[in-house]
């Protein structure tokens, strides 16, 4: 069953198209990374999904209904949208108690979630003294109050120290392992690559790709980097064997989707002298940059606009 469904979602702010006919789905019981560079429309999309921003066109549902029509939104969805949305003069526990009261939950939940996110000792402190990382944890605590089936997190790793990021990863993994779903946005693939099952990649408000992380990694085969004074001759020899290659400087070359063995054989045939040869390992982050950089973005080339 689908947990989140987004259909043709579009948002224009004046002449700026923040989200452009975006569609994707998030399956139940998975962690989905919602990725894209800053300004790609991730936050706007999440806010439309949560009924905070009215879309210009399109629709989105959670468990089959628009957020505003959910019977019990607090128990179905927990969302952490930004790290600053607290009254600075209110104590952390009081912030949570207010939400408990509004949602009809017992105020004891406040202490339970403070404990869960590691803020039990600072519940009595006013939020203005909190670091960015503590605010992120408090935001997460608020999202957990209703023990929701789905967590939506917007850039949750912002402001967390490495130990905090590690903690967050384990937390999300444990959460999804109990059959719940997580949608987590980030502008850094590396930050969540270890955590997510699926990725939805957006750039300039449009969907670039949606796939499982494993499929994404499989799309790009390793290449071979070669230093040789006969780079051009080697490129032709590789081409004759059906291996694409690119001469990068007069004496270096990259053979795409090739093995060192194949390149070595081609070099012997072409009489090229190899000074240096190494396999280029797949770099997910680089691939992500490639996908989201406008000139290389397949959906903006020959797009509908």
């Amino acid at each position: 069953m689908t947990s989140i469904q987004i259909n043709g979602l579009t948002k224009r702010f004046g002449t700026v198209v923040a989200v452009d006919n975006l569609s994707f789905e998030v399956a139940e019981g998975s962690i989905t990374g919602f990725l894209g560079p800053n300004g790609a429309g991730k936050t706007t999309t999440l806010r439309m999904l949560l009924g905070l921003i009215e879309p210009t066109a399109g629709s989105s549902t959670i468990a089959g209904r628009p957020y505003r029509e959910l019977v019990d939104p607090f128990h179905q969805v927990g969302a952490v949208l930004e790290s600053t949305s607290f009254h600075p003069g209110r104590r952390a526990r009081d912030h949570l108690r207010v939400l408990c009261t509004a949602a009809g939950l017992p105020p004891t939940r406040a202490d339970e979630v403070l404990h869960e996110v590691g803020l039990a000792d600072v519940g009595d402190r006013r939020v203005k003294g909190f670091s960015l990382g503590m605010r992120q944890r408090l935001g997460l605590a608020a999202a957990l109050l209703g023990e929701p089936e789905l967590l939506i997190l917007d850039e949750p790793a912002n402001g967390l120290d490495p130990e905090g990021v590690h903690w967050l990863r384990n937390f999300l993994r444990g959460y999804a392992d109990r059959g719940r779903s997580v949608l987590v946005s980030s502008h850094l693939l590396a930050e969540i690559a270890q955590t997510v099952d699926d990725v939805v990649i957006v750039a300039k408000g449009r969907l670039v790709t949606q796939s499982s992380l494993a499929d994404l990694a499989g799309r790009k085969k390793p290449g071979v980097w070669v230093r040789t004074p006969q780079a051009e001759a080697l490129r032709q020899a590789l081409g004759a064997k059906g291996i694409a290659a690119e001469v990068q400087t007069p004496d270096t070359l990259v053979a795409f989707e090739a093995t060192t063995e194949a390149v070595g054989i081609a070099a012997a045939g072409a009489g090229a002298v190899i000074f240096e040869m190494t396999t280029q390992h797949f770099d997910l982050e680089e691939f992500f940059l490639e996908l989201t950089t406008p000139t290389l973005n397949p959906t903006t080339e020959g797009g509908s606009r």
């Binding site: 706007t44 939104p73 912030h95 108690r97 949602a103």
Partner: protein, 248 residues
């Protein structure tokens, strides 16, 4: 709805702002009472204390915290935008109409509570003092009762108006600044120097409802009808505005 009102009251109780403003509102009361009694019957002051009008002038000090209640109402709404807490508020209860209604109810309740305390304080200061001047005051007579009730009604409605203003002007500082400028400068001038316009302003209607005796104001019942209408208008406008607004 009950949960939402309780949550709004808890929000007020868990920051210092509301306490400070409520204390400020109450602190105005004895000052206003003293001012009214000392200046009564003198040039520039109200009518002489022995008259019914004079007593009404003293009793209307009970609504001197009205402006503070207006500000509390503004902060209840605009403060959510200032601090970004509106996001979690609307996530917990995506029915925005109910959220705004709960805020209006809460603000009106707070206004009524401050007004009740103000009325008690007014009587506590004024009655013994007037007694030393051998001026008899019939607490249940219409001069006192109507004015105090009018003050309570005014401050209750001001609470609702404040939430409306805070919804329409999302920037908290701007909302408070504009409200203060309007009430203290624009309306004061209109009521003082252009009755025919001033009596129809919210402040003019409120003053009439408070039982302030002054030339050019509507009768008390007229002020009541008009000020209630203003309260409803601000509440409806604020709600409608908030329903469609993008929260980003």
């Amino acid at each position: 709805m009950k949960n939402l009102i309780r949550a709004e009251l808890l929000k007020l109780r868990t920051t210092r702002m509301a306490y400070g403003l409520a204390l400020a509102a109450l602190a105005f009361v004895p000052i206003s009472v003293i001012g009214a009694i000392v200046s009564a019957g003198k040039s520039g002051g109200g009518p002489a204390l022995g008259t019914g009008e004079g007593i009404r002038g003293v009793m209307s000090a009970g609504s001197s915290g009205a402006l503070t209640v207006l500000i509390i109402g503004i902060l209840i709404m605009a403060g959510e935008f200032r601090h970004g807490t509106v996001t979690s508020t609307f996530l917990v209860s995506p029915n925005r109409g109910r959220v705004v209604a709960a805020k209006i109810a809460t603000s009106a309740l707070v206004g009524a509570a401050i007004a009740l305390a103000s009325s008690a304080l007014t009587l506590a200061v004024a009655l013994p003092w007037l007694a030393t001047k051998h001026i008899h005051v019939d607490v249940f007579g219409h001069n006192v009762g109507f004015v105090l009730l009018g003050g309570i009604a005014t401050m209750t409605i001001y609470g609702a108006v404040g939430v409306g203003v805070g919804s329409l002007i999302r920037n908290q500082m701007a909302a408070v600044g504009i409200a203060l400028g309007w009430v203290l400068v624009a309306e004061s001038l209109l009521i003082g120097f252009a009755h025919e316009i001033g009596r129809w302003t919210p402040g003019g209607a409120a003053a009439a409802l408070e039982g302030v005796s002054r030339d050019g104001l509507l009768p008390m019942w007229g002020g009541a009808v008009l000020f209630v209408a203003y309260g409803v208008a601000f509440a409806v406008a604020g709600t409608r505005f908030t329903l469609r607004r993008d929260i980003s």
